[in-house]
Symmetry: C2
Subunit: 350 residues, 2 copies
Amino acid sequence: MQDVARRAGVALSTVSATLTGARPVSVATRTRVEAAMDQLGYRPNALARGLASRRSRVLALTYPVGDSGLSRTSAEFVISAAAVAQERGYQLVLWPFGVDDADGVLDVARQGLADGVLVMEVHAGDARVAALRGAGVPVALIGRTADEADPDLPTVDVDFAATVADAVAHLARLGHRRLAFVNHAERRLAEGHGPTLRASAAWTAELLARGLDPVQVYAEESVAGGRAALAALLDGPDPAPTAVVTMNEEATFGVVAELAARGVAVPAALSVLAVVSSPAVAGQTVPPLTTLHAPGAQLGRAGVDALLALLGTGTVPAPVLEPCRLVDLGSTGPVPTPAGAGALAGSGTP
Amino acid sequence: MQDVARRAGVALSTVSATLTGARPVSVATRTRVEAAMDQLGYRPNALARGLASRRSRVLALTYPVGDSGLSRTSAEFVISAAAVAQERGYQLVLWPFGVDDADGVLDVARQGLADGVLVMEVHAGDARVAALRGAGVPVALIGRTADEADPDLPTVDVDFAATVADAVAHLARLGHRRLAFVNHAERRLAEGHGPTLRASAAWTAELLARGLDPVQVYAEESVAGGRAALAALLDGPDPAPTAVVTMNEEATFGVVAELAARGVAVPAALSVLAVVSSPAVAGQTVPPLTTLHAPGAQLGRAGVDALLALLGTGTVPAPVLEPCRLVDLGSTGPVPTPAGAGALAGSGTP
DNA sequence: TTGAAAGCGCTACCAT
DNA sequence: ATGGTAGCGCTTTCAA
């Protein structure tokens, strides 16, 4: 930078001012400085800039290190967050730590490399969040805790209520009135797993509001879990559903498998709708599944922007709730007409 | 750090020495310094340390920003690299740039935040690699180019030859002699796509060495592409294969779908083996697919270690080739006995 | 509008 | 083995 200053015939501080806009610089000097810069191929040093300004322009993303790796939606989130950070002139660093490894997160956070931290898969009473806040590290949350969102923390999450409402509306529009919901494992409820909790509540509320029976089963996160869940639905005492909504990606494959094994035609005999999922995943089954696409990318964007807003203004931006978007891959169709007695015309199966 | 020095009654430089081990420190003082440190809850500042030492302890990972996001294997790689970097006391930053955006990569690289760069999905004549090398930035490659690997660059990649050999050996052991390979799209060959090229060569060599016909088809990366490829195999002039090896994850779903549509039993009538894939993905089909699991995690580890070796010693470590590992999910079985005339006993289908 | 100088929090090298 | 000190490459006062 000294070189640039010399070449442009100005003081070091003027070059800095040209770069940061911290103070007015006449057009004439600015031009000369910029010319010198690209003649020299100058790039400011991120470390020095960060040290002097106390802003590294680095954001951190911490996520639980799982045996099973990241879900497709989480991966979309990470990639999107990195891309948006980039657009905003920031860089994103990855901090893999267990959800309960508050010490680990705190330790690296206090090294001061990152200006703020995005915390994924937040759970109720999250130790990482508490530790970071205690240390005065700016934080934004991805996925709210089961509790009401803390008003002092920026939060972005899937809008489960809207998603469930959209799913039900989509199926109701097709004439379905016997719907069933395949949720995550029941154990998740006790763990305070936000999606399980909020989707369950939204499902019940939405169905009751429509005067329908809010049938819901919990499924282990596995193919076997999905098969079992569907079997319970079809073999249970209640009348079998004409449409199934799944929010458990692993189990969804089991649902499809069980349907195939029983020879149940989709969507002719039964409609299947995968919510908070990814078409890239749900499109891999046979038949491909109509999906309410989890807004991983939008949340990545919103999360970064929320954190940057906090960093910039010092005020907590309002929570962001992103709905899923319908991607119709053909696994939902009109409710089957039981004995040709339906009032609706149209065959519905090509 | 000044505070720590005061509290321990030593000079600033001694605290630094205690931290870095750059010079001998007596046990007595070291103890006092460390006591002072955790009484004060002191953590060294990463930015200052990096600026002064010219080593940021930050590694960068650049990958192409695709419309379709990262594959499962790539995601495993990223997660693994982040974890290993962490273990080694480094942090990993994400640099999403198109494969041809050498300027973008170079620009951020020259900001000096990262000590070195891991480049994913390297292709022949990669502009990013050339730019980084030109700027003197340490680089490690994930996936070799179609050309011979540059001896001046650390490289880690899937061992396609070993993987193909393992796949063929596995099927041969089951008695199969009519094998077919579903590769990526033919267009990839012209693009210098390493996996397509090397797997193709390995397939041909391996089959010929066994005196078998190296049947190979190229498939578009889609379900439709996979269906078409399998149809070509089954309806073609040549005798139908008894086992299919797929190395195209998207197309693999199509292969399975086509098989299901035709009522071909797997593995009773046809064995399917997904190579360089992920059990997390291949396990989602019905039936689940036996997989040669792409070593994403091992490559992440190896890639980080290769880059750190280069950084540490200044010498280029030897290329690392990681084989895939067999995960038997049941989609491969003994070759079917055409007319009950086979010499082999055993039914093979439970 | 610009220049000069004082740090940011460390490491590295000089002494001692 | 330890203390002092000069930077690392910037941003930020404060003067001019």
